[in-house]
């Protein structure tokens, strides 16, 4: 048995002369929960369809348990999909939907009864066997779709934004349930979402996708704490992107000049050369603001906007060079008013270099 359940090798795909996927490489281990995170149109669904066999790559190979399945029909792959719109068969009841693949395999009645009962209690739908899909709520349809895909005991389950159509509360609950289910079954999941919170909550590894390429692959904490690029930093957690010039590096500290101010950032494992442009990311919750009267001291900015979002107070400040930064803090009481002059700072460990072109090693 191969160590990797799935391997993608240099997958490319184009539709009508538009390159949708531009050379994807990925390995997924047994029992791993991998999330493809990206905005709509970045090619994540196409990637999933290629793994399922519903789409053919233009070039590259798909390996399942070390076996090349690039040209294998979808019905002959040991992979099942939970579709975005659930795709439940409207002319079959819950039991018939779930048992569909078992009937195709001509399993005997006792076996089907047993598996059906097991998988339905797994998704907490016991007693719903005779319901038609039209009689189910969104969350229930979701569970049927998952049960239908799991009853086959696939080695890999693909989920295409499975919680996209559910309301926020149900989505949170289903996130937890799915994660628990995945751990219990030990089946590898490839999960598509555009919701960074969902990705950070559930995944063993996150693959950030952008315009048909994998921008960064890493654990949630790697992705969150050490974004490799400004895109990742902004997409996962809305970080501020700050530009300056490298002055020098000592151990893990880098000094960067912004205008006529010198700030410190961490190195994130890179070796940054002096006099080069530097781009680094600072999350809004790590931006510190203080009243200041002297425009010369530190990074000075003016408060331009205050608003509440996601239980946090967002304070937008404008630097002298017109660039905007966002700071966030808990609570809605804050000592700053729009128009106030403030000094901006952060702890060096919270400023992470991104978009570093040198061959270096990001992360720890």
């Amino acid at each position: 048995m191969s160590e990797n359940i799935l391997q993608l090798e240099n997958i490319t795909k184009s539709f009508d002369d538009t390159d949708v996927l531009k050379g994807l490489n990925l390995s997924v281990k047994h029992g791993e929960f991998v999330t493809l995170l990206g905005s709509s149109g970045c090619g994540k669904t196409t990637t999933l369809r290629i793994i399922a066999g519903l789409e053919m790559p233009d070039s590259g190979r798909v390996l399942l348990e070390g076996r090349d399945v690039t040209n294998t029909e979808p019905n002959k792959r040991d992979v099942n999909t939970v579709f975005q719109n659930y795709a439940l068969f409207p002319h079959m009841n819950v039991a018939q939907n779930v048992a569909y693949s078992l009937r195709l395999k001509r399993k005997n009645k006792q076996y089907i009864e047993k598996e059906l009962g097991g998988v339905l209690s797994l998704v907490q739908l016991k007693g719903y066997e005779k319901r038609m899909p039209s009689e189910l709520s969104g969350g229930q349809m979701q569970r049927v779709a998952i049960a239908r895909a799991l009853v086959n005991k696939p080695c890999l389950l693909l989920l295409d934004e499975p919680l996209g159509a559910l309301d926020l509360q149900l989505r949170r609950q289903m996130q937890m349930e799915l994660k628990t289910l995945q751990k219990r079954l030990g089946i590898a999941f490839i999960y598509i979402t555009h919701d960074q919170e969902e990705a950070l909550n559930m995944s063993d590894r996150i693959v950030v996708m952008r315009e048909g390429q994998f921008e960064q692959i890493g654990s949630p904490s790697q992705i969150y704490n050490y974004p490799r690029t400004s895109f990742v930093a902004q997409f996962v957690g809305n970080a501020n992107i700050i530009r300056g010039t490298v002055l020098g590096q000592k151990d893990k500290m880098v000094s960067v000049r912004i205008g006529n101010t010198i700030v410190l950032t961490q190195s994130a494992g890179y070796h940054l050369k002096p006099d080069r442009d530097a781009v680094f990311a600072v999350r809004s919750e790590h931006i510190k603001l203080a009243h200041c009267t002297d425009e010369v001291n530190g990074l000075c900015a003016r408060v331009t906007e205050k608003s509440i979002a996601g239980g946090m107070l967002r304070i937008v400040v404008k630097l002298k060079d017109e660039r905007e930064l966002t700071a966030a803090r808990f609570g809605i009481d804050v000592e700053f008013d729009v128009g106030d002059l403030v000094s901006v700072s952060w702890d060096a460990v919270h400023a992470v270099p991104v978009d570093v072109e040198e061959v270096g090693h990001g992360g720890e």
Partner: protein, 292 residues
Amino acid sequence: MAGNNSIKGKPYGHSLWLMILPLYLFTLALVAGPLLYMVILSFQTRAEGWGIVNQFTVANYINIFEPVYLSTFVESFRLAILCTVLIILFGYPFGYLMATLSPVWKKRVMMLLMIPFWTSSLIRLYGWIIVFRANGTLDQVLMGLGIRDTPLKLLYTYPAVVVGMVYALIQFMILSVYSSAEKLDFSLLEAARDLGASPVQVFFSITLKLTMPGLLSGVILTFIPSMGLFFIADILGGNKVVLVGSLIQDQLMKAHNWPFAAALSVALMLLTTVLIFLYKRITHTTELEGMG
């Protein structure tokens, strides 16, 4: 609620009935009336030579079971089944594939289907005479291509009638399958493939089941008329192929046996009703039972 008044409430109650009334009267006078008269007529006795005598009899119905007439029924039934099978074989894939076309091509194909309707079906049938007659278009093409040495002389044969019937009725199958296939969610077919179904299994367990209402209404729309389209058999079959439709026409126009013609019509109608009843039962069960 204001909205309810317009439907159930009193203010519009009477005027609504007044508006619908002419429609009911019209239907009663022009559809139910003649139908009822036909049923009455079928129980009356034929007069010597011309017209009818007002005398109750069931002889007309017993007459249907005369081998000559019964065989006409059987023959019509056979032809209708053959035509319907052919129409399914050609019409179903056509209608289904049409639903998978891009919107632009859908419009174009729909146009091509509709254009023949602008001409009377009788005139279109005469077109087939030109194609089928000895040394007609078909024979010239076949002989020109060297496929045959002698003319096929298809006109006034059974196959010519079948082709005419299929041609005249296939649009109904295509359009009703199309309308049903257009509503089909194609991701269901992918889901079935993903769950391990081969293309053939997907077709029988999902595609066919979900387009069954369209297929069955197509069958009703083609089978029933093909029992009665006497002019096609007349024009393309000469008098070699006699169908119930032709029989009724002959009894009415040539033999002047109106009561018998009426009895034949009622019998045909009953047969049709039974078929529609069966159709309802079948569609109902497919909706409930799912895969068998």
